[in-house]
């Protein structure tokens, strides 16, 4: 589901002094300008490859880690249908992770390296999965409002320039449409329910408001780097443009149910942009770096899986491992 628009690490990027072959660079840029896709074995600038690996890998990690807060609620989902839907959704998310790891691998970073970098904390993932899903209403908010945010980002990226990423995203967007619908359904069920259910939903919306504003990343700073990524169709929309598009679509869908966001300054301006209170971007940076409420638990679970399930892989790869008789 979710690769936020924000690519951690890009603001610390030192300008790459490497000089690309100007003839090849021009051919590459002309191809993108004509709307053609880039395929794995094509020539591509170093910066393009590096940025795409980082972006697709972080997107993949977000899918895999994103399955955890929702997976928590499978056993406690209210009713058989919601349980079935949640199982299907979580399974899809893990499948999306697989598709994205494949796309990233075509650029030359192995799946094993990516997983190792996730476990060591070197690679990041979306901020929103480092918050707990405290009640069932949190699951409804994730399924509706977080998935919707992810879709805004993914639909934009699916029109990018790198063939394998576009192919993966097309499939992902097709599958996400059901996720959003079931999330909206669960959200509406609570919003139109009893007083207690409405209060529970409002609480969850209050908890998730800030992470949602953070999701698309800090306000854009015009830079040569960003301009280049947009020209290469790696980044398709600015953080603010995505956030504005998202708020325009989904704030009304929440407010029509008599639920609101805990921010008196959240409003649409005459020019279509949105204003909101300072969401504390330092918190966002802390959470991305590993200091959110659930970072430790999320990675601990992944490490546990990697260690405790290793024997399965060993058995699969060595089905006929020889037994040696004792010598004496």
């Amino acid at each position: 589901m979710y690769g936020g628009g924000y690519i951690p690490g890009q603001e610390n990027e030192k300008p790459d002094q490497f000089q690309e072959d100007p003839v090849k660079l021009k051919e590459f840029e002309d191809r993108i300008a004509r709307g053609e896709k880039i395929e794995p074995h094509d020539w591509m600038p170093r910066g393009y490859r590096k940025q795409l690996i980082r972006m697709i890998e972080q997107h993949a990690h977000s899918e895999i880690i994103g399955a955890l807060p929702e997976g928590t609620w499978i056993t406690r989902a209210p009713g058989f249908r919601r349980k079935m839907a949640l199982i299907a959704k979580v399974q899809d998310e893990v499948g999306h992770g697989q598709l994205l790891y494949n796309a990233a691998e075509t650029l030359g970073k192995s799946r094993e390296e990516m997983m190792a970098d996730l476990l060591s904390g070197k690679s990041k993932y979306s901020n929103v999965f480092n918050y707990p899903a405290k009640t069932w209403a949190d699951v409804a908010v994730i399924g509706f409002l977080i998935d919707a945010a992810a879709i805004v980002n993914q639909v934009a990226n699916s029109k990018g320039s790198y063939g394998p990423y576009c192919r993966a995203l097309e499939r992902i967007c097709y599958e996400e449409s059901f996720h959003l619908k079931q999330g909206h359904d669960a959200f509406v069920a609570l919003a139109t329910g009893t007083k207690k259910q409405r209060a529970m939903l409002q609480d969850a919306v209050n908890r998730w408001y800030r992470p949602i504003i953070h999701f698309f990343g800090p306000p854009d700073v015009a830079s040569v780097h960003t301009e280049k990524l947009m020209r290469w169709k790696v980044k398709m929309m600015s953080n603010d443009a995505m956030r504005n598009q998202y708020l325009s679509s989904y704030v009304p869908k929440v407010r029509e149910l008599g639920i609101d966001f805990p921010d008196p300054n959240l409003r649409k301006n005459a020019d279509g942009t949105w204003s909101f209170s300072d969401p504390d971007w330092d918190e966002f940076k802390r959470v991305i770096k590993g200091d959110g409420p659930c970072n430790k638990e999320r990675l601990a679970v992944r490490k546990w899986v990697e260690t405790e399930h290793r024997w399965i892989r060993e058995a699969l790869f060595n089905p006929n491992a020889k037994y040696t008789l004792p010598l004496s």
């Binding site: 395929e39 074995h41 094509d42 020539w43 997976g71 928590t72 056993t75 399974q91 899809d92 499948g95 697989q98 598709l99 494949n102 691998e105 192995s110 799946r111 094993e112 997983m115 190792a116 476990l119 060591s120 707990p132 899903a133 405290k134 192919r167 993966a168 499939r171 599958e175 409420p293 430790k296 638990e297 601990a300 679970v301 992944r302 490490k303 546990w304 990697e306 260690t307 405790e308 290793r310 892989r313 699969l316 790869f317």
Partner: protein, 130 residues
């Protein structure tokens, strides 16, 4: 680490693993296989994506989970990526030939005018005889 909200995770007593997983070896996840999916009988198998697996049998199992989960599907093939032979994109100019290919298109063959002319001629001849 705080106590998890997830009872299953809380039961794992995961602290002992917090030090870190054992390192992941090179190619530990296995080689990749290309997956081809047939949506109905009578249709072609179409390339759907890639899976990593220990052997073709496991690749089929993963392919079923990954590509047969949502869409209708009656059959699948897998083949190791290393067994695929392909042209290079850099050579794609070899597919460019003469721009005009009417000689291999149905529209390149127009016979109706000739038939009409022939029939006109024959009927004229018949009329002349009688």
């Amino acid at each position: 680490m705080e106590k998890s909200l997830d009872p299953r995770i809380a039961r794992l007593n995961i602290q002992r693993n917090e030090e870190g997983a054992s390192p992941i070896g090179k190619h530990e996840y296995g080689e990749s296989f290309e997956v081809f999916v047939q949506s109905r009988r009578g249709k072609q198998h179409v390339h759907a994506g890639t899976v990593h697996a220990s052997d073709p049998g496991m690749a089929l199992i993963f392919a079923k989970e990954q590509f047969g989960r949502r869409q209708h599907c009656v059959n699948m093939w897998v083949v190791a990526t290393s067994e695929i032979f392909a042209f290079q994109y850099a050579d794609s100019d070899m597919f460019e030939t003469v721009p005009e290919k009417l000689h291999r298109e149905p529209g390149g063959y127009k016979v109706r005018d000739k038939i009409e002319a022939y029939r006109k001629k024959i009927s004229q001849q018949k009329a002349d005889k009688s």
